[in-house]
């Protein structure tokens, strides 16, 4: 047996969807990195550690799905806030539509097999 093969599908799936979950966390309002890391990085969540949100954010920013602004924090150094762009919102909407279809298809396949 290939080591780690049992959880391979899980990490592949997680890798594919986690970016959109970051986008979804930004839907209602802009947030700064630490805030996002805390809300998405809870144990049992989609991140393999809070710190992995930062490379994700960097990638989303490069794709221009999010943009950043520095804001004063009051009690410390300024914070970098992330906000969805128009392109980011479109990508998220498209993903949601696709995800629902995907989920339904998988559920149906599992039920038919049982």
């Amino acid at each position: 047996m290939i080591p780690g093969a049992d959880s391979n599908w899980e990490s592949q799936l997680r890798r594919g969807v986690v970016e959109y979950c970051v986008l979804a966390a930004l839907r209602s309002r802009e947030r700064y990195g630490f805030e996002l890391a805390r809300s998405l990085g809870a144990p049992g969540g989609l991140l393999m550690g809070e710190g992995t949100v930062y490379p994700l954010l960097a990638r989303l920013r490069q794709r221009r799905w999010v943009e950043t602004t520095w804001r004063e924090s009051g009690d410390g150094p300024p914070r970098r806030y992330y906000r969805l762009t128009e392109q980011g919102t479109q990508a998220l909407t498209a993903f949601e539509r696709g995800w629902i279809q995907f989920r339904t298809a998988v559920d149906r396949a599992l039920e038919e097999g049982s």
């Binding site: 630490f34 991140l47 809070e50 930062y54 410390g76």
Partner: protein
């Protein structure tokens, strides 16, 4: 006092992150590092990780630097084979017509795995590696200066000075041989972290 210990722990974590991210483009690497640094600052301020256990837990939650690098697309498992030669070529490459050493230095400077201070260390500590050390030692130990003096026609006295006094010479020999080996071990450890 205790605070400094905690700062050192954070420094070590960030150092590991730097090595893990070494293969990324500079701008990307800087952004991720800045954000992780800010994260640690925020988290320490929030829950006041004042003892070692608290800080360790905080860093655990942030995650393994290798995992962050993997998410960033810098696969920490992917090393280039010729980088593995550097820790061997630097101390021993001098014996290969000294070209081996130069190849080692060239790879050392071209690779993103090592930081500037590692590169300087690897280059300056022992030019031409152990071969250089041997040449240097044989030169400095062999040169002996003899002067003869005495009345013309009479008996002459010959006085010779040179070489290094035995204990000092041995100490220098030891340092010169050990230093290159330690540097090679250090470079190998940095490489394996990446």
């Amino acid at each position: 006092m205790d605070q400094r210990r905690l700062d050192r722990m954070v420094g070590r974590y960030l150092g590991e992150l730097d090595s893990a991210l070494a293969r990324l483009p500079r701008a990307r690497r800087r952004q991720i590092r800045e954000e992780v640094e800010a994260h640690i600052r925020e988290a320490r301020g929030e829950q006041g990780a004042r003892d070692e256990a608290g800080l360790r837990q905080l860093l655990d939650r942030i995650g393994d630097p290798g995992e962050i690098a993997r998410e960033a697309g810098a696969d920490p498992g992917r090393r280039t084979w010729y980088e593995a030669l550097v820790p061997l070529l630097l101390p021993l490459g001098g014996f290969l017509l000294s070209v081996g050493w130069m190849v080692g230095v060239a790879i050392l400077w071209a690779s993103p795995v090592w930081r500037l201070r590692d590169k300087l260390l690897g280059t300056l500590i022992f030019p031409f590696g152990l071969a250089g050390v041997l040449i240097f030692l044989s030169a400095s130990l062999a040169v002996t200066v003899c002067t003869s003096y005495g009345a013309a026609g009479g008996p002459t006295t010959t006085h010779c000075t040179g070489g290094l006094p035995a204990p000092l010479g041995l100490a220098i020999l030891f340092i010169l041989i050990v230093a290159p080996i330690l540097v090679a071990i250090h470079l190998e450890r940095v490489r394996r972290r990446t």
